[in-house]
């Protein structure tokens, strides 16, 4: 039985990583993006490519994925971050959709809808990670490290700068903050670390295809962050845990029509998002009042 729980645990860790990294942008930098799943995907595809063609070493794969995602995000962010607020939401939406198109059309690299199968097991310190327990520990380790990195980051001066930009961009400018640079760094950090989730995912399933990296995933992760609590450290983790297990929980509610489980799940978190925004914009963990001020 515990093995199945480990399965769920691995996915919770993966989504927690995504939620935490997305929160860096949404919660701390006040940059609202819908393209997070794209970088999750980039991480996964790069991991698959490296693992199958270059090196089976986990470390190499991790480095490659994180760097690729980080650098790509910088290349995208530099022009994209010239626009703000609603405009950036739409830009990120466009980026997400373009990336999905690339994922499904660049068959040579991504295998399109068919995806990539038989991704080899990761090797680290000479051993391979194979059993669910080992994978769970791997996922948990990654989550812990990322939590640590982000935790330190938001408590340090960079975190202060991010929040300053979030709270009032022009004031931050006037105090000598290079807002564009700060936002770009935040994007690089967020996307780069999101790639780690992609690596774990690709290895764990040893199969990836475009369906996993669509707008739906971006929205799901967004919901995790918002329901858990923007601008907090453990809000996103809690949100990830709750939403990842929601389907399992629902499948035990006997009176629900099984054919509609998927819809009901989405309906529930859609509803949760609305109510949260009306009554508790800070999320479950976050403060009762808003995490953001008028611009």
């Amino acid at each position: 039985m515990s093995v199945y729980l480990l399965n769920v645990g691995v996915f919770i860790c993966i989504y927690a990583i995504l939620a935490l990294t997305l929160n860096v942008l949404i919660g701390y930098a006040g940059v609202f993006t819908l393209a997070h799943a794209a970088f999750f995907g980039i991480g996964a595809y790069v991991a698959a490519f490296v693992a199958m063609n270059l090196s089976s070493s986990l470390v190499v794969v991790l480095v490659a994925s994180v760097l690729t995602a980080g650098i790509l995000s910088v290349i995208i962010a530099l022009p994209a971050l010239r626009v703000r607020d609603e405009y950036f939401v739409v830009v990120s939406l466009a980026i997400q959709i373009l990336c999905v198109t690339v994922f499904s059309e660049w068959k040579g690299f991504t295998g399109g809808l068919g995806g990539i199968v038989n991704i080899p097991l990761p090797e680290i310190f000479g051993g391979t990670i194979a059993t669910p327990m080992q994978f769970f520990l791997l996922a948990l380790g990654c989550l812990a490290v990322i939590t640590l990195i982000i935790g330190l980051m938001v408590r340090g001066s960079f975190g202060r700068s991010l929040m300053a930009v979030r709270d009032n961009e022009s004031a931050a400018l006037a105090l000598g903050k290079n807002v564009a640079l700060i936002k770009t760094l935040a994007a690089a950090l967020s996307s780069g670390l999101a790639a780690v989730a992609g690596v774990v995912y690709a290895y764990y399933l040893s199969f990836i295809n475009v369906q996993t990296f669509t707008l739906d995933t971006s929205v799901l992760v967004m919901a995790m962050v918002i329901i858990g609590g923007t601008g907090t450290m453990c809000g996103p983790i809690l949100g990830a845990a709750l939403l990842t297990m929601l389907p399992n929980a629902l499948s035990y509610v006997s009176f629900l029509p099984q054919t509609e489980i998927g819809s009901i799940q989405q309906l529930l978190y859609g509803l949760a998002m609305i109510l949260m925004m009306i009554f508790r914009p800070g999320g479950i963990v976050g403060a009762g009042r808003s995490k953001r001020n008028r611009n």
Binding site: M1, V3, Y4, L5, N7, V8, G9, F11, I12, S104, E105, K107, G112, L113, G114, G115, V117, N118, I119, P132, L205, S206, F207, N209, Q211, T212, T232, M233, C234, G235, I237, L238, A241, L242, M245, N248, A249, S251, Y252, Q258, T259, E260, I261, G262, I284, V285
Partner: protein
């Protein structure tokens, strides 16, 4: 901080409770990974209906020493859920044999099957590359390319169609179909004048119609599914495409059969002789009708056959006193020349795909009429 981690822990415990499900070791358990929720759940129900029948028959005949239990897991027809389910079945219930459906999920779980030496049998997906997923991945359904290899010669030689245009969803199945057309048509002296790939989500085909009209083919070959192919047929006809439609077994779905615009369209499916007189077939058909008040579909039949194949192999192994493991099942299948299944005796090719007769069908508004039955 602490209270929030309490929250995380609490929710994990919650997960423990809700995800816990009992597993009996003393039974002979096999798995079924089907869409039980989500848009494709209807298929899951069809598969289960005939598997329930198979379970009863196997128990009634005491084919296996031990109580056969089929553990169903929900894939939602999505890769990720399928892998979750596969991991659970393999590592928790340690089943030797899993039945799967749909190309995406099947491809996703195939690596696990080979890694853990667990047999996976597909009775629903027809993507050509399902044949190439390793020795532990079997198909009890002929794949799209097989169907087309008998459909195309008929269309070209006997019906004299020369110019084909292809509209395909750009997924493995669609790709496979295109490859077969590109490879086969020239040999037959026909030509693929143009091929158009569409995303699985597309719904506007007015523009496509314009281009097809411009190509002016004899046949428009479709490689798409369910609602979308209905939309394509409708909109192409509405926009003045008069060419004949053709497809692989995808056209056998009721929605197409009932579609007036599809009248006369050609397609190929696996031929199952429901009229066969052997007791095995009759028992299945009679009991199925008795239980569900209608004729079994091809899919229902395939999964009944899949379960029966397991029972037959398992019986053999028990006779030989071998444990029923994936490895032994594979070995035993290779030893077995042919299986007496619903619709007659069939055998596997070396890749583990069923060699079954194919029938050429025509949409006639009343469930399709058979034009020709032949072995590939």
């Amino acid at each position: 901080m602490s209270n929030c981690f309490k929250g995380v822990v609490a929710s994990l415990v919650l997960g423990l409770v809700v995800t816990a499900a009992p597993a009996q070791a003393e039974d002979i358990s096999i798995g079924g990974i089907f869409p039980l929720s989500g848009p494709n759940a209807i298929y899951g129900e069809i598969f289960q209906s005939s598997l329930r029948l198979a379970e009863n028959h196997i128990r009634a005949d005491g084919m296996l020493d031990g109580n056969l239990r089929i553990l169903y897991e929900d894939s939602q027809a999505l890769p990720q859920q399928a892998v979750l389910a596969m991991n659970k079945l393999v590592s928790v219930n340690s089943v030797p044999f899993v039945m799967s459906a749909f190309t995406g999920p099947s491809k996703a779980i195939a690596p696990i099957a080979n890694r853990t030496k667990t047999v996976v049998v597909n009775g629903g997906g027809v993507g050509p590359d399902l044949a190439k997923l390793g020795e532990y991945f079997w198909n009890v359904i002929p794949l799209a390319n097989t169907e087309m290899r008998s459909l195309l010669p008929y269309m070209v030689r006997e019906r004299g169609y020369k110019k084909f245009a292809l509209i395909y969803v750009d997924d493995p199945l669609g790709e496979g179909v295109r490859e077969v057309l590109e490879e086969q048509l020239p040999k037959l002296g026909a030509s693929l004048v143009n091929d158009y790939s569409i995303p699985a989500t597309a719904q506007q085909f007015g523009g496509l119609a314009a281009k097809i009209r411009n190509d002016d083919p004899d046949v428009v070959f479709l490689a798409s599914y369910g609602d979308q192919q209905v939309q394509i047929i409708k909109q192409l006809r509405q926009n003045g495409v008069t060419a004949l439609f053709a497809s692989y077994s995808a056209f056998s779905t009721p929605s197409v059969q009932a579609l007036p615009e599809a009248e006369g369209a050609l397609y190929a499916t696996q031929a199952i002789d429901f009229e066969a007189k052997d007791a095995f077939t009759r028992r299945f058909i009679d009991d199925f009708k008795a239980a569900y008040g209608k004729m079994p579909t091809v899919y229902a039949t395939n999964y009944y056959n899949a379960a029966m194949i397991f029972a037959m192999l398992g019986k053999e192994l028990q006779v030989q006193g071998k444990p029923i493991t994936g490895e032994n099942l594979l070995e035993q299948r290779r030893k077995t020349k042919s299986f007496a299944l619903v619709g007659g005796s069939v055998s596997f090719d070396e890749q583990g795909t069923l060699i079954a007769p194919i029938q050429i069908m025509e949409v006639d508004g009343s469930g399709g009429n058979v034009l020709k039955i032949g072995n590939p």
